[in-house]
């Protein structure tokens, strides 16, 4: 245990680690939950000019309470702008104004391609998942995509997706299309951080949480996970970070369960 280490929950760990990755970013496209917590913390620490843009069209929200959905009424009242959907998706997102988009998925592969449509065959699925929503657009147009996965196991980190909903640039380039963004560049999990430098290269394990071994991470991953030569150890959340997260960002413990 390093000095200053404080016990924290898995949600707090993921939110803090993700927040650090937002250093100096200007705009983030974030859903409710861990992404909002991470972005709100980053705003208080490493990215003071960070603006959260919600899929619902809200920019510069000043919510009186933690929002329960991306369209919560408390995000609207007192916001700086509420944009129609064609403006949000067409001009802001596809137009290239988003630095980092947060996405989740049921399955992710080594290139950061994501499946949020089905488990099994699309035509007769074992599980019908919610589907693309705006994830495909975030993947195509945000400069980078961060994925936060609570669970790091072989069901989610797969060698082959059942269905590719939101493709990374690797797959788009194979079809002759060069997307604006670099695809998934960071995956933050309970075991550590996977990273990709940009278009086309595989996600590699670049850091593990204290106490986690490389073998644990490789075992929990459905493909032959590459490991960075300069593999690091994630610095645990500091007391200062946790205090801000708990006292300023989510004092009501809505998401920090």
């Amino acid at each position: 245990m390093s000095p200053g280490h404080v016990e924290c929950t898995s949600s707090e760990l993921l939110a803090v680690v993700a927040s650090r990755e937002l250093r100096a970013r200007r705009t983030v496209f974030a859903g409710i939950g861990l992404p909002t917590l991470a972005a709100s913390l980053a705003h208080l620490t490493v990215a003071p000019e960070l603006e959260i843009v919600y899929e619902s069209g809200v920019c510069g929200a000043h919510p009186s309470q933690l929002p329960e959905t991306i369209a919560d009424a408390v995000l609207i009242t007192g916001a700086e702008a509420v944009l129609p959907m064609p403006v949000l998706f067409g001009y802001v997102l596809q137009g290239g104004h988003i630095d980092v988009g947060f996405l989740g998925a049921a399955q992710i592969d080594r290139f950061g391609n994501l499946n949020s449509s089905v488990i099994g065959d699309w035509h007769a699925p074992k599980v019908r998942l919610p589907g693309p929503g705006g994830a495909m657009e975030v993947m195509a147009s945000a400069r980078e995509v961060f994925v936060v996965m609570r669970r790091h196991d072989r069901r989610s980190f797969v060698d082959e997706l059942d269905f590719c909903t939101s493709p990374g640039p690797h797959r788009a380039l194979a079809e002759g299309v060069r997307p604006l963004g670099a695809g998934v560049t960071r995956v933050v999990t309970e075991l550590g951080i996977l990273a990709s430098s940009g278009q086309g290269d595989e996600l590699r394990l670049v850091a593990v949480h204290p106490g986690v071994t490389v073998e644990q991470a490789r075992e929990a991953t459905g493909w032959d996970l590459a490991v960075a030569p300069d593999l690091g150890t994630v610095q645990p959340p500091t007391a200062a970070e946790l205090r801000l997260l708990r006292d300023e960002v989510d004092p009501g413990r809505v998401y920090l369960r």
Binding site: A73, I76, G90, H123
Partner: protein
Amino acid sequence: MPRSAPAQPDKTMTMREAIAAHVHDGGTVSLEGFTHLIPTAAGHEIIRQGRRGLTIVRMTADIVVDQLLAAGCVTKLVSSFVGNSSAGSLGELRRRIESAEGEPLEFEEYSHYGMICRYLAGAQRLPFYPLRSYAGSDLPSVNPAIRTVTSPYADERVHVVPPVNPDVTIVHAQRADRAGNTQIWGLTGIQAEAVFAARRAVVVVEEIVADEVVRSDPNRTVIPAHAVDAVVECPRGAHPSFAQGYYDRDNAFYRSWSAISRDPDRLQAWLADWVHGTADHAEYVAKLGPEFWARLEVGEALSLPVNYGRRL
């Protein structure tokens, strides 16, 4: 020219009249509203009137779609998100898609922006609309309507989606005048495009207001009267979703829907009780009761007025 202004045609009618007049068996019905202002009461009236064979077009297929499916109204769904918001699953929808039992449901899947672009093409009478999504996705392999076009400016392909022109679009809004000039604030979503793309449009509102209210702020009019065929006053008609400035979202109901919809019998009992068991939305509202509505009440946060000016 004080008398040169048009006579406002009165397009107001009851929900029963509007659904009877504009929603027909086998038709394509767009119901829009992104989390905010979902036209639930209109969906319930479609169920009450027993429409069959509908194609429902809706970006976020959520509770009202699950209810229409369970009531047997729908044979095809066009959507970009099929889930109960972040609160869980849609039981009926999953049964219709995941199991071979029951009536099959034709499902046409797009991304959010793909749906938006279909409405944009429909509203603009374009043969297609280009977008930067879909390259590398498996979606075009299961949806042949998603195609590509080569740019005439560079050797570059871009995906396109076809227009959607619903037989009728139904949206919910905060207020309109009797002619259909419709004002929405808060999330305005894709409502205007869905209305312009449709052959007919029904606007359901929290309140029909005097012409002068609308005309005090013409920039707030998201849908002009000439695009609207029917105006229905139906307070609280967006429940369990919300109407900014009128009532809040019923998050408890969203959370409960996963359990209700998981059990087909319980779901049918819910429909019998709350939809078939109420003559109209006013009864549904009354059945929920004043204490229930008090919990969703919202306070006041008024916009500051702007000056449109007057020639002196």
